[in-house]
């Protein structure tokens, strides 16, 4: 890595050097080459001119003597001069009288025109090359002319050798520059590499690493700064690591605690995500269904637990604030009660829109409770039947006794004495008590049978269209005797817009009657009002009295069996204590709720709601069960 960085830097520098060098070298080479060529050409021209003039000047006498041999000897010595390729002399007739050509005079030379002021001319001789022909007149051309041929090839050769020398020199300089660049780049890049390596180590949290840079320049300063930074970083990291360790331990403890709690719950815990996929189960749940945790995780709730549970899970997601329950079959013919709650992201909900993240389902094994309940119901049913038969006989015979006594016996007894009169009165009173008590007992047994039937599911529910106004009206008719007896006033307020319901009219009427009877029963004087209205998509029926009211603690229990308001030990029981539980069973069976609002001494408001949905009660019923 270090060498790579170095070589990159070096490569860049090298590239710059090469480019610069190439530009400089080429420019220098070409310019000096051109200059050299120009200078050499000029020099050769002057040289040739000098030679030509020298020959011309000194060959006058010999030429006049017609001594061409001496001329030849003279021109021969000039061919020894570098660059001189040929020399020849022409006489005034234009005849070549001396020349240095071997093996013969080229045709190109014979064609040369000689004149007094001829400029140097370039001439190409086939097979011999390029030459510069320079001529000089002998005695202004009166005797002849001297021609000197300068070899251009030598110019080029000299140029070439000069260029090559220059190339060598440039190459040497280049090599030196590269070497110098290498050393310089290394000197710069080595500390940088060390720093890079050091930074890399720091990045890997090797805070103990050392960097060996002691220079006083910027790099040294940077190294010092980085080292002190490393020390501070290492301290910070240590602190955070300790804190993190503590936090992790705490978190682990908490998690372990929570896991232990969940794992040791008697109830089964099932956590589902937003798509109904099982994300968590506890051992109790696995045991309940006789499935392994691995068989459950990641599976769809509907596939494993069926539609009922899936349905409440779905509803819990849609209404996270509510709690939904259903019964569910467990392994080994046991029964469980499932309670589903939607869960929402508790932290950082987005812009107030709480986002459902799934559902939590608690499943409790209620097999034993169900069994007890069933046994209780069976018991009550059995006992009630067993009680009612003799009671009917008791009641019937008591009525017959009373009637016979009034019509046949007591008329015959002409009791004039006070003692007999008093005894007759006592008998009459006692029989009346027996009769009313047996009536009350019958009622109690009826109620018990009702509740037992309801709880055991043995009731046959009717499903018929009905009008709530009609139900209320008939309930009032049935209880009008009670109102008259106590002198209470009855008012009713019923919304006109209420639509038709469907359900069991007699059972609903029983509810309203029960509520009205209770109101009459606990209201010494005043008015009992019945209202029916639409509220929040439901039909709400309320019975408002101005009676004694119910304490807060009793309000929650009065819908349970055998729980009348007040102390059964001190207060005289005024009912069976089963009326409201029966009401509750009926209302809940219709998919509604029943509740009470009350203040002691000021009266009570008993209300029940019935769904006004378009769906038939049968559908509601089926969804409930």
């Amino acid at each position: 890595m270090a060498t790579m960085i170095m070589s990159k830097l070096f490569k860049k520098t090298l590239l710059i050097i090469i480019v610069l060098f190439a530009v400089i070298a080429l420019t220098t080479l070409f310019s000096s080459g051109w200059n050299l060529y120009h200078d050499l050409t000029q020099e050769y021209k002057s040289k040739g001119t000098a030679i030509a003039r020298s020959i011309a000047g000194s060959s006058v006498d010999t030429l006049l003597n017609r001594d061409v041999s001496t001329v030849q000897a003279m021109i021969d010595q000039f061919t020894e001069i570098i660059g001189v390729s040929y020399v020849f002399v022409v006489d005034v007739q234009g005849e070549l009288i001396s020349h240095t050509f071997i093996p013969n005079v080229p045709a190109e030379i014979l064609k040369l025109q000689t004149s007094k002021n001829a400029e140097p001319t370039d001439i190409f001789i086939k097979g011999r090359g390029d030459f510069i022909d320079i001529s000089a007149p002998i005695v202004e051309g009166a005797v002849g002319f001297v021609h000197v041929g300068m070899d251009k090839g030598i110019i080029m050769a000299q140029l070439k050798s000069a260029m090559i020398r220059q190339m060598y020199l440039l190459s040497l300089i280049f090599a030196l520059s590269v070497a110098a660049a290498y050393v310089l780049v290394n000197r710069v890049s080595q500390p940088l590499n060390n720093l890079t390596e050091y930074s890399r180590k720091l990045a890997q949290h090797e805070f103990t690493a050392q960097v060996e840079i002691h220079s006083k320049d910027e790099v040294g300063l940077l190294a010092d700064t980085m080292q002190s930074m490393a020390i501070e970083l290492s301290e910070v990291f240590e602190r955070y690591e300790l804190a993190l360790k503590d936090a992790i331990i705490e978190l682990q403890n908490t998690l372990a605690y929570l896991t232990t709690v969940i794992d040791h719950m008697a109830d089964g815990l099932l956590v589902l995500d937003i798509d109904g996929i099982i994300t968590h189960v506890n051992p109790a749940l696995s045991a309940m269904f006789g499935l392994r945790e691995s068989d459950l995780m990641g599976r769809s709730c509907r596939d494993i637990f069926g539609d009922d549970l899936a349905e409440i899970v779905l509803r819990s997601r849609h209404d996270p604030k509510a709690v939904f329950t259903t019964e569910i079959a467990l392994a080994g013919s046991r029964t469980g009660k499932a309670v589903a709650t939607g869960i929402q992201q508790e932290y950082f909900p987005l812009e107030g829109t709480e986002k459902g993240i799934g559902s939590v389902v608690i499943i409790r094994d209620i097999t034993a409770e169900k069994e007890v309940d069933r046994m209780k119901t069976d018991f009550i049913s059995t006992v009630s039947h067993e009680l009612r038969t003799p009671l009917t006989a008791v009641k019937g015979f008591t009525e017959i006794i009373k009637m016979k006594l009034e019509e046949d016996i007591l008329k015959l007894v002409q009791a004039h004495d006070k003692k007999t009169e008093k005894a007759i009165m006592r008998v009459r009173e006692n029989i009346t008590i027996i009769l009313s008590e047996s009536e009350r007992l019958t009622k109690l047994i009826d109620d018990l049978l009702d509740i037992a039937k309801l709880e055991s599911g043995k009731v046959e529910w009717k499903n018929e269209p009905l009008w709530i106004a009609d139900v209320i009206s008939r309930a009032h008719d049935a209880t009008s005797a009670l109102f008259e007896k106590k002198g209470l006033k009855f008012t009713k307020t019923i919304d006109d817009a209420l639509s038709e319901l469907s359900g069991d009219r007699d059972k609903l009427m029983q509810v309203v009657i029960n509520l009205l009877s209770n109101a009459v029963k606990f209201t010494p004087s005043g008015t009992v009002t019945c209202t029916a209205r639409r509220f929040d998509g439901e039909l709400v029926v309320s019975v408002i009295d101005s009676g004694i009211g119910i304490s807060d603690e009793n309000q929650t229990s009065i819908f349970e069996k055998f729980k009348q308001a007040g102390d059964t030990l001190t207060d005289k029981p005024r009912g069976t204590g089963l009326g409201l539980p029966i009401c509750r069973q009926i209302i809940e069976h219709h998919g509604g709720r029943i509740w009470v609002e009350s203040e002691l001494g000021k009266g009570s408001v008993f209300s029940f709601s019935l769904p006004l949905s378009t769906g038939s009660p049968a559908e509601i019923l089926s969804s409930k069960s």
Binding site: V68, S69, A73, D76, F101, I102, P103, N104
Partner: protein
């Protein structure tokens, strides 16, 4: 140049006579710069040998006025610059009495200005082995005494003879220097008299070896349709030219001048002919400036042959080529012999005090001097060339014989 100076050696030749120990204290120093090595090396060597054959006899006989003649020789390789250096060395360092036996036109032509600038010292060049014009014409003719006829005379005679036999298309093959130019000029001016021009010209570079090809020059001349060639060159190049001409199937007569060294030329051609299995020696004409050494009717020839037979020495070893084999007789050594003979005559007349200023008047006073050949030697203030006669020879039956009849080349 320093090489030449270094390789040059002063050579002393004392002939060990019975008297030598008593008289050898003084010598007459004669300076010589010639080609001893290279493609023209045979000329200098044989010229030297011919001269020494005679001088040895003179020295053996007690020298001149008791003085031994000593030749101080340097090699110039037939190149002007060494010749100039050698000359300066001879004049200024060796302080020779006179210069003698120089070989070649390009060398002598460049030496002439040295003679002129030393005119106050009365330095004269005697009998250079060249027939060129520069030392026969002003401004240098007064410093040079020639024995031989000029190239102009040789080439002019050749051309005249070719004209007589109807060969009018004369081509010139010549050395690209003052020597070649001199011969070329002789051909040209003679042809001009007949209103003719050379049919073709070709040059070669001085120093060309026998092994080099001259086919290009042959082609140039042959293509002109020339019917005779006058060749002015050194023996190596001229022999190569003849070989290449004959190899090209070109059969015309080829005439060479005296400088070529006829025996050397023939030697090369015979060697080549032997290896090629053909005869390169026919249709050759060689002009000479001395009589044939075969003509024993001449006193000088008899003397020459006798002296040469008794003289078997070579020039000093370092001057010559290592494998040099001397010729028994040759036109060159005969010329050297005649040069020496005349020189000795000059020295005798100049003696006994050997004053340099006496040289010129003495030589210029020679009239009809008999040196033992078929013609006499005369000098005068206006005539610095002793002989004018040209001898034409051809190679026949192993020797050069005088051409008595040119008609064999009639066309």
């Amino acid at each position: 140049m320093t090489l030449f100076r270094k390789s040059a050696l002063v050579v002393l030749f004392f002939l060990c006579s019975f008297f030598s120990s008593a008289v050898a204290s003084e010598t007459i120093d004669i300076g010589m710069s010639a080609a001893f090595k290279g493609p023209t090396g045979g000329i200098g060597s044989e010229l030297y040998r011919g001269s020494m054959a005679y001088i040895r006899k003179i020295n053996e006989a007690g020298g001149i006025n008791g003085k031994q003649i000593r030749i101080i020789a340097y090699d110039d390789g037939y190149n002007p610059t060494p010749a100039i250096h050698n000359t300066i060395q001879l004049i200024e360092k060796d302080k020779v009495f006179l210069l003698f036996n120089y070989v070649g036109t390009p060398t002598v032509a460049r030496v002439l200005p040295i003679l002129k600038i030393n005119s106050d010292k009365n330095i004269f060049l005697f009998f250079p082995f060249t027939g060129a014009e520069p030392h026969r014409l002003p401004p240098y003719e007064e410093y040079v005494f020639n024995l031989r006829a000029s190239y102009h005379q040789e080439t002019s005679g050749l051309v005249e003879n070719f004209m007589k036999v109807g060969r009018r298309k004369i081509a010139v093959f010549y050395q690209a220097d003052a020597y070649g130019r001199s011969g070329w000029n002789g051909v040209r001016t003679t042809l001009a008299k007949y209103g003719l021009k050379t049919a073709a010209e070709a040059t070669y570079r001085r120093g060309t070896n026998f092994s080099d090809s001259l086919a290009q020059q042959v082609a140039l001349l042959k293509n002109s349709g020339a019917d005779a060639v006058v060749s002015i060159g050194a023996y190596a190049a001229c022999a190569a030219f003849i070989r290449d001409a004959r190899d090209a199937g070109w059969d015309v007569p080829i005439a060479n001048v005296s400088f070529v060294g006829s025996e050397f030329m023939i030697k090369l051609l015979l060697e080549a002919g032997r290896s090629q299995g053909r005869d390169y020696t026919t249709n050759l004409i060689n002009s000479q400036v001395v009589p044939s050494y075969e003509d024993t009717s001449l006193l000088a020839v008899r003397q020459y042959r006798e002296y040469m037979d008794s003289y078997s020495q070579l020039p000093p070893e370092h001057l010559i080529e290592p494998n040099y084999t001397p010729l028994r007789y040759s036109f060159v050594s005969f010329e050297g012999f005649l040069n020496a003979k005349l020189l000795v005559e000059v020295l005798r007349k100049v003696g006994p005090r050997f004053e340099k200023e006496r040289i010129r008047p003495v030589v210029e006073s020679f009239r009809s001097l008999d040196i033992g050949i078929d013609t006499r030697v005369s000098f005068s203030p206006t005539r610095h060339q002793g002989l004018d006669r040209v001898y034409y020879t051809t190679y026949s039956e192993g020797r050069f014989v005088p051409i008595k009849d040119w008609s064999r080349w009639q066309q």
